[in-house]
């Protein structure tokens, strides 16, 4: 079958998709976007977390066909997504408004470094929240969504929001640090 959807602001078309293929498989193996990870493919680890029409979901649990006509943001598009959000919503995000499509469409995937990192991405590096990094893409998408909803989360809020994302390396302390840091830096700017 054929699936048409928007990925990181660009219209995409996947051909010859098998019935059982997940959105994760299509992103990784057909779109050349392997940033979303495949640690369990059972909805247990969150390493495949993407935004689907703005809602964080496990891409491994979404059938590719379900993405038809919808809007997907992956870690590869996170920096651009965050930048656009900040630009369009100076006082903070508009609840549930998502990325302006016209603006998002201008995004081009390019070599790393062309787009400045999203605050949450930079904070993960600075706080030492990345070791092997396999959990990182999913955590970033989830943490970015948390900060969009709740710019000043308590520790309990952070733990609750990230409870679906497993990390085996860090013991989570530095992930908490990173989310706090991103919140603090964004707060200072705003």
């Amino acid at each position: 079958m054929r699936v048409n959807f928007t990925v990181n602001g660009r219209p995409q078309q996947a051909d010859d998709v098998w019935e059982g293929e997940s959105l994760l498989y299509v992103l990784r193996e057909r779109m050349g976007l392997p940033g979303s990870k495949n640690a369990c493919e059972q909805g247990e680890c969150g390493s495949c977390t993407v935004r689907l029409d703005n809602v964080p979901v496990c891409a491994c649990l979404v059938a590719a066909g379900q993405a038809e006509g919808r809007d997907v943001v992956t870690v590869e598009g996170l920096a651009e997504f965050a930048e656009r959000r900040d630009a369009t919503a100076p006082g903070g995000p508009e609840q549930g408004s998502g990325t302006g499509l016209d603006e998002a469409r201008r995004w081009q995937p390019g070599p790393g470094g062309s787009t400045p990192l999203a605050p949450v991405q930079q904070a993960f590096i600075d706080a030492g929240a990345v070791q092997c990094g396999f959990c990182t893409p999913g955590l970033l998408v989830a943490a970015d969504e948390l900060l969009e909803r709740n710019p000043e989360p308590s520790d309990a809020d952070i733990r609750e929001a990230l409870s679906g994302n497993l990390c085996r390396c860090t013991g989570y302390e530095k992930i908490l640090d990173a989310v706090r840091l991103a919140a603090a830096r964004t707060g200072e700017e705003g």
């Binding site: 050349g32 495949n38 396999f134 309990a156 860090t170 989570y172």
Partner: protein, 793 residues
Amino acid sequence: MGAGPTPGKITQTSTATRGAIGESTLRPDGTLKVTGEFAYSSDLWHEDMLWGFTLRSPHAHAEIRSVDTAEALAVPGVHAVMTHDDLPAATHYGLEIKDQPVLAKDRVRYHGEAVAIVAADHPETARRAAAKIKVEYAELPPVVDEATATAADAPVLHPGRADHHAGHVPHPNIVHRQPVRRGDVIAARTRADVVVRRDYEVGMQDQAFLGPESGLAVPAEDGGVDLYIATQWLHVDRDQLAPVLGLPADKVRLTLSGVGGAFGAREDLSMQAHACLLALRTGRPVKIVYNRYESFFGHVHRHPAKLTYEHGATRDGQLLYVQCRIVLDGGAYASSSPAVVGNAASLAIGPYVVDHVDVEAIALYSNNPPCGAMRGFGAVQACFAYEAQMDAVAAELGMDPVEFRQRNAMSQGAVMPTGQLVDSPAPVAELLRRVKALPMPPERQWLTADDSTDVRALPGGLSNTTHGEGVVRGVGYAVGIKNVGFSEGFDDYSTARIRLEVINGEPVALVHTAMAEVGQGGVTVHAQIARTELGVSQVTILPADTQVGSAGSTSASRQTYMTGGAVRHTCQAVREEVLRRGRERSGSYHPAWATAELLLEGGKVVTDGGEVIGDLAEIVGEEPIELELEFRHRPTEPFDLETGQGFGHVQYSFCAHRAVVEVDTELGLVKVIELAAAQDVGKALNPLSVVGQIQGGSTQGLGLAVMEEIVVSDGARVRNPSFTDYLIPTILDTPTIPVDVLELADDHAPYGLRGVGEAPTLSSTPAVVAAVRAATGLPLKRVPIRPEHLTGT
């Protein structure tokens, strides 16, 4: 169709001007990892590639009567199906003992053993074709424990053993046996005022790294193969693969791709041989990626153990003797069982001074899943038992458990039960003092400012099972001892190639090693060392591959010591060459060139007084300096097979924990509130990474204490191979982990550093269990603790 990232391109250039050792320099691969561009082994893609899939045994012990692949081969899209009969050369491999079949021949020895492999143009096609392979099995009774392994009529799992342990083991189903004897336990027993003898049990833990086993094998024009792989030791993979592929070692080229964690589970081969065999058979690149289910069958686990300990002490709290027996279940194949036995035996009594010791450790062959390396490597199981014993003896004596430990703690100058002198700092009592001195987390921490209950802070969490009723707090302590580096006479070395050249007028250091970066941050540290030793700001870390000498394994807490040591050693030789050239050219212009203490700093040659006497870029000029050198730690020796005496270990490392838990005694739910750690690291080359290692290791120990176990039952079958049923700590299960880092230099080690990665995994488990014991008053002699152990139901 999209294209995947180019394999192997993980070069990073750091342009930070600072970033010497001792600073919390940021990872050079951090940006790639947060943008999703870092190429893990499961992300690799080649336009001609096929997908491999492995057919595995549904039985733990069975004879294979026949295998019929005709139907699978006929599936459209299938390019190859291979069984044992199709193997071109060596049919077995192994880290130490080559007892692991590449594909099972006439017998399978564990649930999930590989029987056949398929290559097809879509992973689902490969999976469906594998399901059409007809294997006729005749089930055999499984060996599941020591009793069934050594019974008079026990089936011998590996008949005709010729390995070097075969001659000294009491039964062919015992892989290795290591006693450690010192003093006179029988006489000491008569002098003991208090004797505590108990049995303990440790369940089978899984490393559960997040990045599944995966790799891409690409056949080369010279008849060889290039393998892009996530592993812990490229060269030992290569040395096992070459005989299986029937190729000379130089035609089997490995490049490290992104590794999603390891923790020991990537020491043994998994899909490496299968992908290479299919690639050479089909002439096409072959990618294999395990899913989580297969990953549970695709790697070795931590040895489950049964331990019996007897401690005797005097009334005033002096340990007189320890006698113990440790039975590790190694499962179907040897993997690293012999070395795990050596560790368990030599570290069996913990970081304490005891004059009379009688230890026996063995590893079994059984039909359970193969077990081998996991963070802590034999020392974890022992630490759970000896620390439980320390609490039990202290309770018998009516002493404070920390005070009792401190009374018997080893320090520099102590003698191990193996006779080895502890010749560097061993601040065991001090580490305990530090965790004990920390302020306690507030009582009833689930109450919010407005006096309502935050259930997220209570046992059961969002399941909302309690609002504080029936919740009891407990505090527990533990400390452990772990060896660093490869022990028992192993020729443990690492290699670094350093090139110093001038690019755009700037001196740049290129660091090339075969070290597997598995997340621990070795690449960061290598760049820090090169900056420190060569005084450059720009360092490029080249991809790890087999084009440079072996780095040894990323395990045994050894890489900062060993490959860090090799980078330092080689940089120092490069510096000598810089100075030689400098003296040759300018020696007559400045008398300081004749002095010994010249340094490279900020791109200059400076005297120890800080005077600049030369320019690095100018001295190197058009002639880059390139050297490849090996670095070795001081030699060790094997343990005596009867007494266990010997200078067996390179270095010891120590960590202590205090755990504070709250237990819902009605439902048997545990919430760890805080898990404080103190560890001596000798020298923290990168403090941020050091703390990250300690927190991560502590969390894995917490997992073993209260949740993680591979359940094997009903004919030695694995019951819970998924993250739905094998639970690892989430961010809700993991408490805050304050870390106190001591830096007492070990003069034998580069920069005085001490390996960090494993020690925190040891003491975390017994500290948590001690806290649960303190809260509940239950003996709790098995980990992981399950709710039914706490409610008695």
